[in-house]
């Protein structure tokens, strides 16, 4: 096959091109021809097709995501906002933190281990590209029904992949989620988040400026794996027959990535780069066009200098390859030699592949012949934008009318007790330590809190004990009942978790996992969820710093529950003041903070006992969440509480059982006046937490709650070796522990 040069393309306008096979729509192809004033070359077509895919261009979601930039709360912490590889916030003492959550859903269904592993690799490079040292990872996961045979294929592979990659990089895994629901059958969600730390002056941006500066590709050689993989894959639905489509999968090399991290940090330390970009989805097409587009525009690349693993790759394939563990840096000429020395020190291959020009076009050459000549903005930032039609689904009203409050409730203490045991041993409420024990949570020696705590927390300064905390949450059942409220409940829960650990919530990242945007029902869910999240962030004062959208999580006509996953980042001045969840001291008083209402829609109880989903999710009150957060943070700082646990799915009883098992002490509970034991134990009203208060602090604590107007009810005491609800039932801790801990191993081991 002869080379399709720019010159050749101009001379042969009528050549048939495989735009359809590459996933482009007819009008999109026409627009490319219009932009270029000719037909694209094969290489140009390759670039546009991957960069204009849903995954890379956000063409269906962009119009909704705009709100995150428009409804921005007053927040002095924001240093870099949406639009970069990841947002950056100020956490004080000259430190900045960058964090982001991304999805690797589709690749993880096809090849669970490598899909999940490369998901971790990708998000870590995003964080690294901002100039930060990655310090921790989190992994919100969703799988099909726990008993389904395919879950036994997908889950162990995903978990091993996340562990295999993250452990080998030396990044403590400090949090995440594992949720089972049959709606994720065939569409597991593998989201991965990373936190990085740097000094303010070390923030780096992805842009190529300064004509004459060199463009250096470094890291792994480029191979034929995953050509167009992620971008094309994540932009279409699977056939209902399962993973029939098997494009080349990428294999991760965490060892190479570890070298890339250390090498890049040393390069940053010597201030050798003017701009930097990781290579992820869409590979070199993305890196070169984004760097050029964000800079002054001009860049010239000699594509034949790219080090290859397979010498037979065509230029189109090289541009589309998603080979992992690569980075692209823009370096002033006088620093190139030192840059290369550092790469050599770390056994990292580095090659000058081009330079920044004073023009405005991205020009790519292959053995001297020009194969790409495009305005980079049209590739990277000015892709198609769709106003997809959306409408409230016809079934939404009926779903909401199917009130969970009408479900039969336990009528005897024995029944209540049995339901408590069923709840805490159900796959979603059971202990996840079979999974989290496959992740290294100790590496780097800074992990103050990790699973099963409410939030993960790492120390970032050894002298001052400054630390950051993160929690990720999302409840697809709530979001299905009401996507606007569901997104806000995800935000509220993550916010509450961070506050419960003693850290002050600062900012958020999100991963929006939805079905096909071509379905107006799904698009409505998406529109509602983004609106809810943007409004919620405005109200809570936590800006969205960045995130990721994953669409087409759908098999046939059936979409997953709308699943917005929210990661809240918090800061704590002194990690020694952190609040754990464990009830560790006999005699301490248990207080329930917040209001408990008859709220069972989307609850764990309705799912576990009645396999029911209907009604409305718990009411959202973000002002209350804020107040609760302030109380939890003050109480932690001033030593008024020794333990705190947020209440969410499973309600009070779930939280108390977890805190008791963690601390190795029982609890004696009294049902407060005006509540039934059932509602007290299982309601999922938001804006609540349970805390353990030393007796000496009781007055101070209740005075504070009273003065600030936060309801605080004394519900019992840490005591004994069982969880007892007075006048109702008593379950020994041993029985609770085996119920809670046996489920996941017996399903998966």
């Amino acid at each position: 096959m002869s080379l399709d040069t720019v010159k050749h393309a101009a001379e042969s306008p009528d050549v048939e091109q495989p735009w359809k096979e590459l996933g482009l729509k007819e009008d999109e192809y026409a627009r490319i021809r219009e932009i270029l004033g000719r037909r694209p070359t094969g290489a140009e077509l390759a670039m546009y097709s991957v960069m204009w895919s849903e995954h890379c261009s956000y063409k269906s979601s962009k119009v909704h995501l705009r709100q995150f930039g428009e409804k921005v709360p007053e927040n002095d912490a924001m240093l870099v906002g949406i639009g970069e590889n990841a947002g950056v916030v100020d956490v004080g003492q000259g430190y900045a933190v960058t964090f982001k959550v991304e999805s690797h859903n589709h690749p993880s269904y096809i090849e669970p281990y490598q899909g999940a592993a490369t998901g971790v690799g990708g998000i870590v490079r995003d964080i690294l590209a901002m100039g930060a040292r990655p310090v921790a990872v989190v992994d919100p996961l969703r799988f099909g029904a726990a008993e389904h045979p395919d879950t036994k294929r997908v889950l162990p592979g995903v978990v091993a992949g996340i562990g295999g990659y993250g452990n080998c990089l030396g990044l403590p895994n400090i949090g995440g989620e594992v949720v089972f629901d049959e709606c994720y059958q065939g569409n597991p969600l593998v989201n991965a988040g990373c936190i990085g730390v740097m000094k303010h002056e070390d923030i780096h941006l992805a842009k190529a400026s300064g004509p004459g500066n060199k463009v250096i590709l470094y890291g792994a050689r480029t191979g034929g794996d995953g050509i167009g993989g992620v971008s094309v894959l994540a932009s279409e639905t699977f056939e209902s027959t399962g993973p029939a489509k098997r494009p080349a999968v990428q294999v991760g090399d965490p060892f190479q990535e570890k070298l890339l991290i250390e090498c890049t940090l040393e390069i940053f330390k010597e201030k050798l780069v003017a701009g930097i970009q990781d290579l992820g989805g869409a590979g070199l097409s993305c890196a070169t066009s984004e760097l050029a587009s964000a800079g002054s525009g001009g860049m010239r690349v000699e594509l034949d200098t790219v080090p290859l693993r397979d010498a037979t790759l065509s230029p189109e394939e090289i541009l589309m390859s998603e080979s992992q563990e690569r980075m692209c840096a823009v370096v002033e000429p006088q620093y190139v030699e030192r840059f290369m020395e550092i790469c050599e020190k770390w056994d990292v291959i580095a090659t000058v592949i081009g330079e920044v020009t004073d023009g405005e076009r991205l020009e790519i050459f292959w053995h001297g012949e020009q194969i790409v000549d495009v305005p980079p903005r049209t590739v990277a930032h000015e892709g198609p934008v769709y106003e997809r039609p959306y409408a409230r689904p016809s079934w939404q009203d009926a779903l909401q009318a199917d009130d969970a409050g009408r479900l039969p409730r336990p009528s005897t203490p024995e029944e209540l007790r049995a339901q408590v045991l069923r709840l805490v041993s159900s796959p979603n409420q059971a202990s996840k330590s079979w999974i989290t024990d496959q992740y290294d949570r100790f590496v780097q020696g800074n992990t103050v809190l990790a699973q099963p705590e409410d939030a993960g927390m790492v120390r970032i300064d050894e002298e001052s004990n400054l630390g950051v905390a993160m929690a990720t949450d999302g409840n697809g059942r709530y979001a299905k009942l009401d996507p606007y409220a569901g997104a806000q409940l995800a935000l509220a829960e993550a916010y509450r978790n961070v506050a419960a650990s003693g850290a002050k919530p600062l900012a958020i990242s999100d991963c929006l996992n939805f079905g096909s945007p071509e379905d107006p029902d799904v698009m409505w869910q998406f529109a509602e969820a983004t609106r809810g999240l943007a409004d919620g962030c405005l109200q809570l004062g936590t800006p969205v710093t960045g995130g990721n959208v994953s669409l087409y999580n759908q098999t046939g006509d059936t979409a997953i529950h709308p699943t917005p996953v929210v990661a809240v980042l918090g800061v704590i001045d002194d990690v020694t003041r952190r609040t754990p969840i464990a009830f560790a001291k006999e005699g301490q008083l248990l207080y329930l903070l917040g209001d408990t209402r008859e709220e069972f829609g989307g609850s764990a109880w309705s799912q576990v006992i009645h396999d029911h989903l209907g009604g409305l999710p718990p009411r959202v009150d973000l002002d209350r969440e804020k107040l609760l957060g302030e109380i939890l943070i003050s109480a932690s700082r001033d030593g008024m509480i020794d333990a705190a646990h947020d209440l969410s799915d499973g309600g009070l009883v779930q939280a108390v059982v977890e805190s008791c098992l963690r601390g190795g002490h029982g609890a004696r509970l009294v049902v407060p006046d005006g509540l039934s034991a059932f509602t007290f134990l299982f309601s999922e009203s938001a804006g609540r937490a349970v805390v353990a208060v030393p007796r000496s602090e009781e007055l101070r604590f209740t005075d504070m709650c009273g003065a600030r107007g936060l309801p605080a009810a004394r519900i019992g005491v840490v005591d004994g070796t069982s969880v007892e609800v007075q006048g109702e039932f008593d379950v020994p801790l041993d029985e609770l522990r085996s119920a809670h801990e046996a489920t996941i191993p017996s399903l998966l081991a």
């Binding site: 490598q114 034929g224 397979d310």
Partner: protein, 83 residues
């Protein structure tokens, strides 16, 4: 008892980080002249009963659906001469 060997190797286009690491280490150990190293898995199966065509077909199926992950790996099935 018959012995069947199933060799499973990553497909040629798939990155083999292990093989690469081994290859890069060799010159340091004084072994020159190895142009490429690929690392794979070897399964030795002891098969009961006669190793007829049906049995081999079943082993082939086992290799395809279980021993190898054909998304990223190729495999071969060989009967070993009995010792």
């Amino acid at each position: 008892m018959a012995r069947v060997v199933v060799d499973v190797m990553l497909k040629p286009e798939i990155l083999d980080p292990q093989g690469q690491a081994v290859q890069r280490a060799l010159p340091r150990l004084g072994f020159e002249g190895i142009a490429d190293v690929r690392q794979g898995k070897r399964f030795e199966l002891d098969v009961e009963g006669p190793l007829d065509e049906a049995a081999l077909a079943r082993i082939h199926e086992m290799a395809e659906t279980f021993l190898a992950n054909t998304v990223i790996e190729d495999f071969t099935v060989k009967v070993e001469e009995s010792k």
